[in-house]
Point group: C2
Chain length 344, copies 2
DNA sequence: ATGAAAGCGCTAACAC
DNA sequence: GTGTTAGCGCTTTCAT
């Protein structure tokens, strides 16, 4: 099977006995070209199945209209909602995304960042891998003036735009809610504490208990990778604690749900014996039993805000005094898993 | 703030008083260049922070090492596992992905396909949008000899490589299992029946009931978008049926779980009154109560197979007689939601 | 072992 | 209103 070659503007120019420049201008409907010529060119281009070569265009324009995106993984409800939000704003503005996963691995994140740079993306949107501690791999972008926006898992340094939730506040409120439901022995299951999201939630937890006269008990802090499996293992750990804790705050819904399911299998009554709260408002939180109290993490909204600010930035419209850190509001969603029966 | 300009091979050539050609060869470690020169070039390139311009490279080579991917949405457990599988094979081979979502919308899929083409991807991997019925938007790729691989949601035509599950078989086995658990009035909740995945599962369902002497009842076929909300609505519909059905087979786990939860809220006992099976082996299936019987849809494996076959194809190593349709095996995962207590 | 030069497809400054 | 020309950064053939 012989394959069609790409049609170029030169093919069209030759056939019409005009110059490539005229073809180029006609295809962009430039008003300097006569309507007649424009029509002629556009018709032939359509007829021959001309497709602009974006690669050549990008090289010439020194601009790709492509935004690079590096995320820890795609199989997260939160990430996919952010992505959806970003695309709904970016695409109509003529940008498209190239997405890559670091799989929570800093080395892969570095490779991905280099690939993005070499592909000359116009900007980068990043949520850091769990084990990323330093961010020199983004320096080439900054040196060149390519915007780098961080979201959710951000770096400590105030060198780029950051978009985060009020994780501290959310952690505080969740914990306060648990305390108000007559809990004193509150386990916190968290992720990698070098990451702001988990560290902030934990600090909120600590502050809340201390504000209510409960001293921090290191045995009540369980650190794992917040997976389904980790939730089950956490349950095994918790069940052995004497006395049994009366509340659990897990830093995501998947882990909270798995932990809850495992505890129930062992005969622990939820919410009678232990009340449980999660984080993210993942669909699973509405399907487990009892329904899981959680923190609504508005990924879609976050994505839209990020994308629109990024467009402002690319168009030089972002005010110079725009705050480095944008905090997006979250809210506590109280469901049955943390509501103790008052009668007890 | 003034921004660093990109370093090009010409900058290095000038500084070293050699030609750009020599720099280019040295950077790829070509053996025709003396070791001394190579070292010199590589050192300076490193020192100056040289980054190859992939855009220029791609234009020159007429090849991008980029694979385009178009999927209905990213917020699906199955899709993200396929993606992960594909990346683990593609990246080490020097390819990277550009991913876009059609949001189940055919028009957006067409736009995405054009963008991919214009960006001159080396190949395309597609799972079709729910409302896509004709696939002429992929013709430019085929005409040009750019491989297009379909997976999961594939087209009817046998014009490109396809990778699918044995949906018919899986639907048959699930239904057979439900029947063997003493069910006769089996509701099937399905998605858009123009899509092979749902249509095949339904045909498996129909064949299975008929093979067991149960005639098809159109009232037992509920078609919706298989979302969480749709599952709740299906439950409302089912609860009104007289007599009450004794089994439900939903075409995905999210919808099955939501339906189950809603039925339980209305006092229906699962699995005593109604047994329920889902599809996908989504994590949620292991967290709901009772645990959901489902079909394991091995996304990761599927992704790896697709990617390795695609690499073969790109390297001209795919045998000419390689079957157009690859069927990947799935398996029934039986859990508590469909196990009737024998004592009853 | 190295260099000169052409060209990938497109755009834009400058000419007429 | 249209054409000429140069150049984006890189690779590669051909020459030396």
């Amino acid at each position: 099977m012989s394959h069609k070659k790409d049609i170029t503007i030169y093919d069209i120019a030759r056939e019409l006995r005009i110059s490539a420049a005229t073809v180029s201008r006609s295809l962009k409907n430039s008003p300097v070209i006569s309507v007649k010529t424009r029509q002629m060119v556009q018709e032939l281009a359509h007829k021959k199945g001309y497709r602009p070569n974006t690669v050549a265009h990008n090289l010439r324009k020194q601009k790709t209209n492509t935004i690079g995106m590096i995320v820890p993984r795609l199989d997260s409800y939160f990430i996919s909602t952010v992505l959806a939000g970003i695309e709904t704003v970016l695409n109509p503005a003529g940008y498209h995304l190239i997405i890559s996963q670091s799989f929570e691995n800093s080395e892969k994140e570095i490779v991905n960042a280099m690939t993005m740079f070499n592909n000359r993306v116009d900007a980068l949107i990043v949520s850091l891998a769990a084990d990323t501690t330093e961010i020199s791999h983004f320096e080439p972008f900054m040196e060149k003036g390519v915007p780098v926006f961080f979201f959710d898992r951000v770096c400590k340094q105030d060198i780029c735009q950051k978009f985060v939730l009020d994780n501290y506040q959310a952690g505080y409120e969740m914990t306060k809610h648990l305390i108000e439901q007559q809990s004193r022995k509150i386990v916190h299951i968290t992720g990698n504490l070098t990451k702001n999201v988990y560290n902030d939630r934990m600090n909120g937890y600590r502050q809340a208990i201390e504000d209510h006269g409960i001293s921090f008990n290191p045995a009540y802090l369980i650190t794992n990778n917040l997976s389904l499996k980790a939730g089950i293992e956490a349950a095994e750990q918790i069940i052995l604690m004497k006395p049994l804790p009366d509340a659990i705050f897990a830093a995501n819904d998947l882990c909270a749900s798995a932990c809850m399911a495992a505890l129930k299998e062992k005969g622990v009554k939820i919410p009678d014996d232990i009340i449980i709260g999660g984080f993210n408002n993942d669909p699973v939180s509405r399907l487990v039993e009892p329904r899981l109290t959680t923190v609504n993490y508005p990924g879609d909204t976050m994505g839209k805000i990020i994308a629109s600010k990024l467009i402002d930035k690319l168009q030089g419209k972002l005010p110079a005094d725009f705050p480095v850190t944008q905090i997006i509001k979250s809210e506590l969603v109280v469901r049955a898993s943390t509501l103790r029966k008052k009668s007890a």
